[in-house]
Symmetry: C2
Subunit: 199 residues, 2 copies
């Protein structure tokens, strides 16, 4: 038996299909939408369509953009000779929050994952090689996640890039700032020890 | 600086306004929407508008409905002489899942809360009294939440209903089925002891 009107059940189902949203949360969200002012609800519905229609991939770095080039590739204050390779557009946002990186990006849109059937052709690897082959690139920083798949992807890319005359680097591993040594896992602590720097 | 295209930022903001959805989750949800097939995204946007337009309150019990009467008030298999008073339409769904209650409901749409400025006139109390005053009701079951505000609301209603010739009952308190005694809080355990039943 349905406990809610069909239109409400439909909205609950749509919310429940979103990642990490369970049945109870989907109900709470749908009920909240019912209580929104009309203008807000319409704007929400429009935003769903609008975000998809207005969002494309940068023709150079494959980051999200609303034009042909993304804001970073458009900017002449960003150094085109350093490319930071990330798995996801959200990682670009994370790197940008450091306000320290002045190079450009390349977004792979995933990592290699034999288990999930993701191979090199499913990622933006060809476009990265083409960028590097065009010349003018001096360093490629691997900034994939520090997990097995991210590691394997970085390693795979570093081999592909070896024929080119570029420096290939990897983000440093170590203990997170503000954390406690006693809570660090063994692998992280080992990496932190191996990567120790002179003070 | 904006890290994402404006249309995507807009969608993220809409998700972030939903209850219990933080910034990171809103990003994840918005990115998921970008990956949806067109038809699914359009259906989601339509569902937001549709749920609001097609959903009204039952003219009798104030439960959500897509017509004048809700499915429960429409059904002649539901006993109109027993009214279960709940705070929220979601509580109707919870009660219905027991498949044991064959009476009807009354949805208050909130509980009395002096701190949040919710008084008797903000709830569906007048409509409840009118229903009972019309006669034919033999029992009113208070099924508000077992917290301070839910308790106070049930107590307030029971006083208002005292002049009518109806039995007023309250859902039983006790230890939740499947839980462990050692994890029960003192108040619950005390209520369970007070409400003990002969075996």
């Amino acid at each position: 038996m349905e406990y809610f009107p069909p239109a409400l059940e439909t909205l609950i189902e749509h919310f429940a299909k979103l990642p990490g949203i369970g049945g109870k949360t989907a109900q709470r969200l749908a009920f909240h939408v019912l209580t929104l002012p009309d203008a807000d609800a319409d704007a929400f519905a429009d935003a769903i369509r609008g975000a998809r229609q207005a969002t494309a991939l940068c023709s150079v770095c494959r980051n999200l953009t609303d034009g042909d080039l993304c804001a970073i590739c458009r900017s002449d204050r960003r150094d085109p000779s350093v490319i930071c390779v990330v798995a996801d557009p959200r990682d670009v946002a994370a790197m940008e929050r450091t306000r320290e990186f002045s190079g450009r990006y390349h977004v792979l849109h995933g990592v290699l994952s034999p288990l999930r059937g993701v191979g090199p052709d499913d990622l933006e690897i060809k476009s990265l090689l083409e960028r590097v082959a065009q010349g003018g690139v001096t360093e490629v920083i691997m900034a994939t996640n520090p997990d097995t798949e991210g590691e394997a992807t970085a390693l795979y890319l570093s081999r592909l890039l070896r024929p080119f005359d570029v420096k290939i680097t990897r983000l440093a591993y170590g203990i997170p700032v503000g954390s406690h040594l006693e809570f660090a896992d063994d692998a992280t602590l080992l990496r932190a020890l191996e990567g120790r720097q002179e003070m």
